[in-house]
Symmetry: C2
Subunit: 160 residues, 2 copies
């Protein structure tokens, strides 16, 4: 069974190639970008200006294929793909928490952008940590390398 | 341009109809469910047992159609759909932060489940708050009703 989605806009950023990108919003602090919604969807932005952050869900459109185990950017050994944020996934869906700088008609100016320029947008949701009820959080293998998230950049390993 | 995804498993929960469901994980504290991965994807679960929580991304498969403005469960007035988590969205993609209770081969036992039984799973990502770099968070119109998230249940407004 297949599920079909349609892009609702495009994400623009300073990143025009898959290498040398920040690997998460935490590594893209202050990096500016824009989300340009297609006209059919602009009315859905009402009330969003009261929120500081959004979940941005997008199509990792340059990701081709996947493997059950990958060597993620933060590590030197293979990990199960679902224990990583690697872009080569069975369904190449990206998720970033971005900061809203301003909203102007069809365009949202955002910061902390770790997304490739021209990426198709699938959904925007308000970021409400109180909804998640997550406490006593453990972050597995990433605990050993989390300090590197601000400095590590992408390389060619998922460009193929 | 259309984007096609394929379910990687199914989510099972105690919720068999769209009404009387919790509206977010914070309203589903302790509610147990399971994520059953299809065989092709089970090897991707390696290393996930070190994490306490996951992002679960799924197809809101009972959602038909959308409108740019909706009256969300937490409110009595219309809001732009992208300023809500309402299921009637241009691309009906659901996002929940669930707690991992245990992992057994192809099955993840989870809690805080606010998801309909039989929902198609699209992706699992480790929940790593340090990746998001979100500070000084404002939650817009939801600030007035956030206290209700634990008690409000769904009704028929998005069942059509």
């Amino acid at each position: 069974m297949e599920i079909t989605f349609t892009p609702i806009g495009l994400i623009h950023s300073p990143f025009f190639k898959l290498e040398e990108m920040p690997i998460q919003p935490a590594g893209a602090f202050g990096v500016q970008g824009t989300i340009d919604l297609y006209p059919d969807y602009v009315a859905g932005l009402q009330d969003l200006d009261g929120f500081s952050h959004i979940y941005v869900i997008y199509h990792l459109h340059k990701s081709n294929g996947w493997k059950p185990r990958v060597i993620p950017f933060l590590d030197k050994q293979e990990r199960g793909v679902f224990a990583t944020r690697a872009p080569h996934r069975p369904n190449p869906i990206g998720l970033s928490v971005l900061k809203i700088e301003s909203i102007n008609s069809s365009q949202i100016s955002v910061s902390n952008v770790d997304i490739l320029d021209g990426t198709p947008l699938l959904d925007i949701k308000p970021y409400v940590p109180q909804f998640d009820s997550a406490q006593d959080i453990r972050i597995g293998w990433i605990a050993d390398t989390i300090q590197q998230v601000k400095n590590v950049r992408t390389d060619r390993r998922f460009s193929g």
